[in-house]
Amino acid sequence: MQIYLPIAEISVNIFLILGLGGGVGFLSGLFGVGGGFLITPLLIFYGIPPAVSVATAANQIVASSVSGVFAHWRRGNVDLKMGLVLLVGGIVGSTVGVWVFAWLRSLGQIDLVISLCYVIFLGIIGGMMLVEATHAIFKTRRKGGTFLRGKKHQHSYIHGLPFKMRFYRSGLYISALLPLLVGFFVGMLTALMGVGGGFVMVPAMIYLLGMPTGVVIGTSLFQIIFVTANVTFLQSVQTQTVDVALAILLLIGGVVGAQFGAQFGARLKAEHLRALLGLLVLSVCLKLLFDLVIEPSELYSIMPGNL
């Protein structure tokens, strides 16, 4: 059954899009990730214009983050103060990001920048995950949890920065500039890549800010809701590329898929899951890299509008 997407202005197969949302939802339930980094490239592969894919994915991530944050909130795993500081950085970053997005689009370079961002980030994250997981699988005795934290009260140049703030829930006394910068950077990524940015923010919160692992996911989800909401709003105003019909289809598929994914994931070993996720992330990265490097069959492209 075909449905005409009002903003993307193309006709798509309704079951294919539902299946796509379901598949990504399954994976996000399975691996406990947002899935934005998968949904945007998949939409682009399917033929949805990159600008619409990025903006619509941001809209869809609002929903998946909202559904995730409740559980963490109830368990008290959200550092509200840290979340708010990250959010201030995130709002500024995503606003700048949307502006950069519109500028690159007018230069005809947005597709390239989206692809490059994906190749770089997916390559780094996927590679690290795979290495870490294979180590864990082959080592009989594993040290601790997923991430190895440095000492909490290690003093370095980071602690010499001004505007120090106390974050009670995380047990930290650090410069507010750090979370502001992390938020800003991830906000930019949300606008440019159509991702929640959890895969960058979670490691940054643990290694750079030194937050305890328990509050990291809840706090990042809390921040992601507002940043993706900001991106959805700004893209709607500036580029009119948010396709509500597409977002709803992805949502329905995603919600159902995530339930099955979570159930299935409970039966697999954590390190096996991470190795699989690493492989998946790397294969998306390689596909995008391949498209950039090999000579395209058509060297010319057309776009309506002005130079």
Binding site: Q2, I3, Y4, L5, P6, I7, E9, I10, S11, N59, Q60, V62, A63, S64, S65, V66, S67, G68, F70, A71, G108, Q109, D111, L112, L116, I225, A229, T232, F233, L234, Q235, S236, V237, Q240, V242, V244, A245, A247, I248, L251, V255, A258, Q259, L292, V293, E295, P296, E298, L299, Y300, S301, I302, M303, P304, G305, N306, L307
Partner: protein, 254 residues
């Protein structure tokens, strides 16, 4: 008021009758070409996957017929990819004005046989006789390359058709053809020209408009997104929040 209305209707009818009567004896020298469409509006609805519009008409005396369908004009940017540091990047570009968003034609036999190249050029019939002028960016030698790339891309998107569709004559006088509009048909007002050609010369031309527009839910959503973009953004966010909340409630029950 009512009386005057009735009076004017009466007048109109009388006038029509007079015109009709007056015309009847002269029909031999009347319109050499009559055309119409089965539908003057192509409505793009939520389930739109392309459609056919029937064009039919009659010619007074035998002759050849060519039909051209030209979509609304738009500006187009053509970009060329070049290899830089190992990856393919958009680099040079050219802008074209007055590129039709859609172009197709139909004829009852090969166009070259119907009319000499000069006539086709003068009347800009056929894809190769469309003039696109680069506004910026390219030298004369590159013009050709960019123009070809523009046409090729439009053809690959199904928006330009180089090969004319078939017009079939039912008798010596009645003809018909199906004009196909694909799923990605751009919206706007189209111009359909019908040329009657006899002995290599244009004997008559008829122009009829065709409107392609979105209707129903998809049209309203598009319109709303462009007209009230801030409100649209807020609604999009609210929908997502509600959907996420419903999902979390559903999860909790399990």
């Amino acid at each position: 008021m009512a009386v005057s209305l009735r009076k004017s209707i009466c007048l109109c009818l009388t006038a029509l009758a007079v015109v009709a009567l007056g015309h009847a004896p002269k029909s031999a020298s009347a319109d050499p070409l009559v055309v119409d469409l089965s539908n003057h509006l192509v409505a793009i609805t939520t389930g739109f996957t392309g459609t056919d519009v029937l064009l039919f008409g009659a010619v007074q005396n035998e002759g050849d017929v060519i039909v051209t369908v030209r979509g609304p004009d738009q500006d187009m940017v053509v970009r060329r990819k070049e290899r830089k540091v190992g990856i393919w990047i958009n680099s040079d570009s050219a802008r074209y004005k007055n590129v039709p968003a859609y172009y197709t034609s139909a004829a009852n036999r090969a166009i070259e046989v119907i009319a000499p190249a000069k006539v086709l050029q003068d009347y800009r019939i056929g894809l190769e006789n469309q003039r696109f002028i680069a506004e910026s960016g390219t030298s004369d030698s590159e013009q050709e390359v960019y123009r070809d790339a523009l046409v090729r891309n439009m053809q690959n998107a199904g928006l330009f058709n180089r090969r004319p569709a078939k017009i079939s004559f039912l008798s010596n006088q009645l003809f018909r053809t199906d004009l196909h509009f694909p799923a990605n048909t751009p919206t706007g007002t189209y111009t359909i020209n019908v040329y009657l050609i006899r002995d290599g010369r244009i004997a008559s031309v008829k122009t009829t408009p065709l409107v392609v527009s979105k209707t129903g839910v998809s049209a309203e959503v598009y319109d709303f997104a462009h007209r009230y973009s801030a409100l649209y953004g807020i609604i999009a966010v609210i929908i997502a929040i509600i959907a996420g909340w419903i999902a979390s409630v559903a999860f909790r029950k399990r």
